[in-house]
């Protein structure tokens, strides 16, 4: 199937961006080839581990090389979206790197995308080219036509915001709001961010489709479903009451601490690294990296959620609002567990 840009847009409109883009990802390259304009991307790294850049390098259909060499502007041979600035893999260093950032700022209006990786912190903890990262972000955000926060840290503060949050780490949207910059941030959480999520979001933005977002700024096409209720392949174990209680056992990972029931992400069907696997598939618990409040809301990672949601008819997402590790819940959790234990024994009888 070879779609012209026009046909592509029509299909997207008919199917809805979400369904189309997650189904026909390989069509992106062909559709993008017809975009005639150079898009300017500025990729800033703050309090990050660069894992999101590495994750981006794991993209397939298109992969990084296709993005750099095949998806070009007309016959120019120039990549359609070579980042003007990207610390981890860009050829330029130092003075030239900062100069190219200025080129990004002067790029054509309507075609400047800002991607932020890593959290924002209190002043002085992250300084680039003698200037606080906060200033770099503010300047770029003022100008950017589209802003994407890639990965848990940029979205909601992520790991460095874990208590006691020693450097005051926070997500981009919160930071911009505090600085009086009211712009939409497309949040693509997970730790690291998923390359598909970014490539598809970039492509849809460049093709003129802005994904619809949930209340946390996450595209519904990726984060609109509850992993446990709607997507998990191990759900049948759960429904039959077969649980892994120790690592290496087969069964639902709920009792190992899996946070799937209070997490919205498509990991279970999209999977990772060329769609090979994901955390739950290798016997580990979901640690909730797609959600605001990660990591504290989901730590200890090996601690079981306070309730078996559907058994007791309790709304799991409500339970998830609280801190799982908090002692405040302790007694309640204990009671709930006992109730569940009893219920199961009765079932057996």
């Amino acid at each position: 199937m070879k779609l012209s840009r026009r046909e592509f847009m029509k299909t997207v409109a008919a199917m809805g961006a979400a369904a189309f883009l997650s189904t026909y990802k390989s069509e992106i390259v062909e559709a993008l080839e017809e975009v005639k304009d150079y898009w300017h991307i500025c990729w800033l790294n703050g309090a990050s581990c660069s894992g999101c850049t590495i994750s981006f390098a794991q993209a397939v259909d298109p992969d990084l090389i296709e993005i750099l060499t095949s998806i070009t502007v007309g016959n120019s041979g120039l990549p359609i979206a070579l980042p003007d600035y990207m610390e981890t893999i860009h050829p330029a260093s130092g003075t030239l790197a900062e100069k190219l950032k200025e080129r990004w700022k002067k790029g054509s209006k309507g075609r400047r995308i800002l991607v932020v990786e890593g959290a924002l912190q209190k002043p002085k903890y992250c300084v680039i080219a003698g200037k606080d990262f906060r200033e770099h972000v503010k300047e770029a955000a003022e100008i950017a036509d589209y802003i994407i926060a890639f990965g848990a840290c940029a979205c909601f503060g992520g790991i460095p915001s874990g208590k006691p949050n020693p450097t005051g780490a926070m997500g981009l949207q919160e930071f911009l709001k505090k600085e009086g910059i009211n712009k939409t941030v497309i949040n693509l959480p997970c730790c690291p961010g998923h390359p598909d999520h970014l490539v598809i979001t970039l492509a849809s933005v460049m093709l003129g489709v802005i994904p619809s977002l949930d209340k946390y700024g996450r595209p519904l096409m990726f984060f609109g479903k509850n992993m446990h209720d709607e997507l998990c392949p191990y759900r049948p174990y759960y429904d039959r009451g077969i649980f892994a209680t120790k690592p290496g056992e087969e069964g639902c990972r709920f009792k190992l601490g899996c946070k799937g029931p209070i997490v919205h992400t498509d990991c279970a069907i999209r999977k990772w690294n060329s769609h090979v696997s994901y955390c739950v598939e290798v016997g580990a618990p979901c640690i909730g990296c797609a959600e605001p409040g990660f990591p504290d809301k989901f730590s200890p990672f090996y601690k079981e959620l306070p309730s078996l949601p559907t058994v007791l008819g309790v709304d799991a997402t409500k339970l998830g609002e609280g801190l799982i590790g908090a002692t405040a819940l302790g007694i309640g959790i204990h009671l709930v567990r006992r109730a569940i234990g009893k219920g199961k024994e009765e079932e057996k009888k």
Binding site: T53, I54, H90, A97, C279
Partner: protein, 575 residues
């Protein structure tokens, strides 16, 4: 004194600032500028060890990986091992092999991406070797000039290596399957098959393309040696082997342990209790200073005179520091760890030397066909360490890991049906030490558990060793030493094109496909760089002049810096 500043220092992990002081050297051919003093500063602080406190120890496996998204798997393993030790849970043989498989795949990804995407571009340019230059002329450049062929293939191959990690660990970066005493992932035939299929493809790329690329660089280095010597009027006998010269002290903690329970307990784990070499592992531990020496972790000491911390210096468990960005004289968030009060380099070269000495011989026998491609043999050019030796060691290490990956996977088949975890409950009170290797060098995790939660967690990581600032005895760190070794030429007002034209004078690059005819290597590069806005690549201003930092950045990158890792602190006092 005025300094040339490189900030942001790209194509590494994290936020690094390098400052260089210059000196004029007059030779028979003119006056040239070289680096006289170098300063390396880490520019981001997150405070990992602070937010590990009070957590379930098993969280450390997940959280410490997020110290660094380039080398998460190494932190995962060091954390696993610190927890194994604290929990008193020696991993089962199947678990050791699964962890080893993850580490091999991970090292292959990491060394590849560093060799081609990070340090490779400058080497490709300086050595006039198109496959290692990024595909800056797009698809046509790839096809016609072979510009970026290996670079492009590397992107595909590193992805395959990471698929292996995903098979066992769920995803990469930040895999999920580690557990004290083993792993959570079930040992299945399809995982073994999936690993082998990818491992063979990767092996072919490493054993053929990657080794071939290195050999081409070594050949090109001969040309470069003569050219640089005659341009500068200095005798550079070994070319890139005389550039970025280090201290000659190399530290390794060892990696890829034997799954045999006796070896694991009495050799691998024993190094925590007494000095040793971990000789039953694929890569040995050691503290080479010209000769093989036992490694003794009690000789590690962290200094903070030039780091933005106050407090007490000491052995990782004993140091007690508080961040202070205003500290007079300090210039980095990175501390200065030293071994036995001396400056030690860590990384692939340290691993290779501590295991094989100064001459390496790695077999290249195809795992399926049995075809022998001949041993890969390399003799260290400069026993103190140099730019080319570090690059060669990284390639050699990739081959070691590609061989080991196949070997471990085949061995794992014998353990089908055996347990993947030696399960133990979280201890009330315990201490654990995990000593492993990250791709960029020796990595240690130290944990203290009290009331079933983390009381104290500390990591001493490779880039803290290599990128460290001066210590309290005023000894410069390894990267600083390499930069100020006397041969770091900063060509004044010469662009990348000018430098290449000075080295390679002939117009022998055919750009007919681009409507240009035959041009010099320098012109070909300029043709590619200009439209991308990269004509001024690596040029840094100082006063009215601009200095080309290509050689300096290649030296720094040869250490594979990882600044997110390097900056870490435990601070007991601040809340």
């Amino acid at each position: 004194m005025a300094r040339v500043v490189i900030d942001p220092f790209t194509r590494i992990e994290g936020h690094l600032r390098i400052e260089l002081e210059l000196k004029d050297v007059t030779t028979s051919t003119g006056t040239w500028q070289f680096v006289s003093k170098a300063y390396s500063g880490g520019m981001l602080f997150r405070g990992f060890e602070i937010f590990l406190k009070g957590r379930d120890p098993r969280d450390a496996f997940f959280i410490t990986q997020r110290i660094c998204g380039v080398c998460p798997a190494a932190h995962a393993e060091a954390s696993n091992q610190a927890l194994d030790h604290a929990f008193g849970a020696i991993p089962t043989p199947a678990a050791v092999l699964i962890r080893n498989i993850i580490q091999c795949a991970y090292y292959i990804y990491d060394h590849m991406i560093h060799t081609y995407l990070l340090v490779g571009p400058e080497l490709g340019v300086l050595c006039k070797y198109p496959p290692m230059v990024p595909p800056v002329l797009g698809k046509k450049g790839l096809e016609v000039l072979g510009l970026g062929t290996s670079y492009a293939k590397c992107v595909e191959m590193q992805r395959k290596a990471n698929e292996i990690i995903a098979l066992w660990g769920g995803k990469f970066p930040h895999h999920a399957c580690g557990y004290p005493g083993g792993v959570t992932v079930r040992l299945t035939n399809d995982r073994i098959a999936g690993t082998l299929a990818r491992a063979v493809e990767i092996w072919e790329f490493v054993a053929k393309t990657m080794i071939n690329d290195l050999q081409k660089l070594i050949e090109a280095n001969k040309v470069l040696t003569d050219a640089l010597s005659s341009i500068l009027g200095v005798e550079l006998k070994r070319g890139l082997g005389d550039i970025g010269v280090g201290t000659g002290n190399f530290l390794s903690y060892g990696m890829l342990p034997s799954e045999d329970p006796d070896d694991y307990e009495n050799d691998w784990m024993a190094v925590i209790e007494r000095p040793g070499r971990r000789k039953t592992a694929v890569i040995h531990a050691g503290a080479w200073d010209g000769n093989f020496k036992d490694f003794d972790h009690r000789k590690i000491y962290e200094y903070i005179k030039y780091s933005w911390y106050d407090g007490k210096e000491g052995y990782p468990f004993d140091g007690d520091t508080i961040p202070n960005r205003e500290k007079a004289g300090a210039y980095s968030w990175i501390k200065a760890p030293r071994y036995d009060k001396k400056v030690y380099e860590v990384g692939p070269l340290a691993r290779m030397i501590n295991t094989y000495g100064l001459k390496w011989k790695i077999p290249r026998v195809h795992p399926i066909t049995g075809e022998d491609y001949g041993d890969f043999v390399y003799e260290v050019m400069n026993p103190k360490g140099s730019l080319i030796d570090r690059v060669a060691a990284r390639v050699a290490q990739t081959l070691v890991c590609a061989n080991a990956l196949v070997e471990f996977t085949i061995r794992l088949k014998d353990y089908l049906g055996t347990p993947v975890v030696n399960y133990k409950d979280v201890p009330d009170k315990a201490e654990g030490i995990g000593l492993y290797e990250a791709p960029r060098g020796a990595l240690g995790h130290w944990v203290k558990i009290e009331n079933k939660v983390i009381k104290h967690y500390q990591c001493v990581v490779p880039s803290t060793w290599n990128l460290s600032p001066r210590d309290s005895m005023d000894q410069p760190g390894p990267v600083e030493t390499a930069l100020q070794c006397g041969t770091t030429w900063l060509p004044k007002n010469m662009t990348v094109k000018d430098v290449c034209d000075a080295i390679y004078k002939e117009a022998d690059v055919d750009l007919t496909a681009f409507g240009l005819g035959k041009v010099t290597w320098g012109e070909a590069l300029a043709t590619a760089l200009k439209p991308l806005g990269l004509a001024e690549l690596n040029m840094e201003p100082l006063g009215a002049d601009k200095y080309n930092t290509s050689i300096a950045v290649a030296i720094v990158r040869s250490f594979d810096p990882c600044i997110a890792c390097a900056v870490h602190v435990i601070d007991k006092k601040s809340k």
